[in-house]
Symmetry: C2
């Protein structure tokens, strides 16, 4: 592994794969965001009509009401929200725009919901390049198409230079939960298996590599992706055998399992040899003094499933795009209530303590 | 009117009417927000369990899932979002917490929906006083109770000192739209009346007074309030006669009417003598060089209604709390497409041009 540590490449400029964006006429006079773009006047209307509306076009948004009106998609709904403050705005494999869509899509999916509708709230810093904003919006629109959700309502605020850091995005999401789907920590049983849908730590290390200006033989890309198709397949085939699902974002796998352990008063026992970590991610973690089990992911889920269905459900995940390296990473026991442990390759048991916070701030 | 212009009173400390808050035990060690409070570890869990969960307590939030699961409240839903960046955080009559709830409640209400559920996303600056955050959360909880909505899901992010300005809040809302309610600019007709639910400019001037350190004989308070009960009464009694409703926030009455004029290709003719403005607000506007028709409100709505129902519907609003000074402020004509005009007290017509942006940044 070759590692070159140079000046931090912040990549705040657009990534190379983002094509030339031609500014629509009314926006051209203002290459940067002004306070007035958030002021409810004609500049804000320009931003809505020439940037947001074309990118997110759908009948609900086009109606331009104070709220979007939609038919109820079913008897049980799921609602979720997430704000995104990640830096840099664009990073290998993804961007704040992709995160803003997939983060909320995944929160809905983990509750067993089919994600359908998103809201988008932008907080912009005065002086933000419109080109950068358009790049983010373009990524959001593409991520929404990929995840099968519509952005149906939104809001824009602008704060003075120095009062925010370029752009923060909030999304809230609405989905429909099928009849008979009931997930939660109270359904976890001793003996259940812990499934992980793929390699751990990719997102956190992708961000950290860019921030620290590290160069590896290969570029480590974020795993940011929507997980709803994996979750839906698990529930369709696994039914009641699926006890609980979570995406392993901030706090990593250890953080999610800690919450599950606390909520169920059971012990989550991981098997070190089984946990998939990419070689380059493992190398970077060693270099940076990070534990991949605590590093954030943006396209990996943890599912607690009944033991007799664990193997076929792991195989099911492996058969689907985005789940190729799914595996059984451990089991639920009653060894020590509310703890997470790791059985090392040497057969010893190590406690994975709760972290105070994320090792890398502003990871999402 | 006595006006004293002194040092700006930023009121970033808690307002006098906010009682002593006793910090729950696990939070006491950290009087200020740390980056780790947004990191997905045990500090974030402390914040959720000891601050957010008790304040917003309801079964949906208590389930602590990635998303909240709710029964669908009806066949047609409304979804909306708003971010709040107002400064100062506490100001006469209201706070960012009240605004964050009522702003989204009102967006839903203006679409004819009964507001039911909110999400809350916090972006906190490292170093924010926990006491201040608790004060804001307390106001949000109280505003939610008053508006009859539940905060069922949330998210917290923390950014480094200097990367945000204390606290930004996003709320998204979900409501149910009754059968037969259809509102929109396409329903506006020549001859319709323009109803305004009360005095204009109170919120903007309340904020500006604090920022500029102006002192008047009386304290000018923000009009921040939920409007759902006024909107519901209008629809219940007015039925199809109610064409469209909007709350007159950023951009003020003129801004909202400009959007209605553009969307309907009709002319909104205001009657200067009819428009209610408090004397102290008018005085402050003259002093500050502001036009109250363009100043933001946070508890006033505009409704376009059929002419024959205008008087009884204005009287209905006046009979309800928060609508005491409702009136017919003008009429819809076809005089000049997509414009807003003002018939002055002298009988002349003045064009009210679209504003580029809000006169006061960060008003909400």
């Amino acid at each position: 592994m070759t590692v070159a540590s140079g000046n931090a490449t912040t990549m705040e400029t657009l990534p190379p794969d983002f094509g030339a964006w031609t500014c629509p006429l009314p926006l051209r006079d203002y290459p940067e965001i002004l306070l007035a773009h958030g002021g409810g006047g004609s500049l804000m209307q320009d931003l809505i009509q020439h940037l947001f509306a074309p990118a997110f076009a759908c009948p609900e948004l086009d109606a331009m009401g104070d709220a979007a009106v939609i038919p109820s998609p079913g008897a049980r709904l799921a609602m979720s929200t997430d704000s995104f403050v990640v830096r840099p705005l664009f990073f290998p494999g993804s961007s704040i725009g992709d995160l803003a869509v997939n983060g909320t899509v995944n929160d809905l999916a983990m509750q067993g919901a089919t994600p359908l509708y998103l809201s988008a709230g932008f907080i912009l810093e005065e002086g933000l390049s419109l080109q950068v904003l358009a790049g983010i919006v373009d990524r959001m629109a593409e991520a929404a198409r990929r995840a099968g959700v519509r952005i149906i309502t939104g809001d824009t605020k602008v704060v003075e230079r120095g009062s925010a850091d370029q752009v923060f995005i909030n999304t809230a999401g609405l989905g429909v939960v099928a009849d008979g789907v009931h997930l939660g920590a109270s359904r976890i049983r001793q003996g259940d298996a812990i499934l992980v849908s793929g390699t751990l730590g990719d997102h956190g290390i992708a961000i950290m590599s860019v921030r620290e200006g590290l160069e590896f033989d290969t570029v480590i890309e974020s795993d940011c992706q929507p997980l709803h198709h994996l979750a839906e397949a698990l529930l369709r085939i696994g039914g009641d055998s699926v006890r609980m699902m979570r995406d392993a974002t901030r706090g990593g796998l250890a953080g999610v399992l800690q919450e599950m352990a606390s909520a169920s008063s059971l012990c989550m026992e991981l098997e070190e040899a089984a946990i998939p970590v990419r070689d380059d991610v493992r190398g970077a973690c060693e270099l940076l003094g990070l534990d991949p089990l605590y590093v954030a992911n943006e396209g990996k889920m943890v599912a607690i499933v009944a033991p007799h269905r664990a193997e076929p459900l792991a195989a099911l995940l492996r058969s689907l795009p985005g789940g190729e390296r799914a595996c059984i990473a451990g089991t639920v026991s009653s060894r020590a209530a509310s703890t997470v442990t790791l059985r090392t390759r040497m057969g010893t048991h190590r406690l994975l303590p709760p972290a105070l916070g994320e090792q890398l701030p502003r990871i999402c």
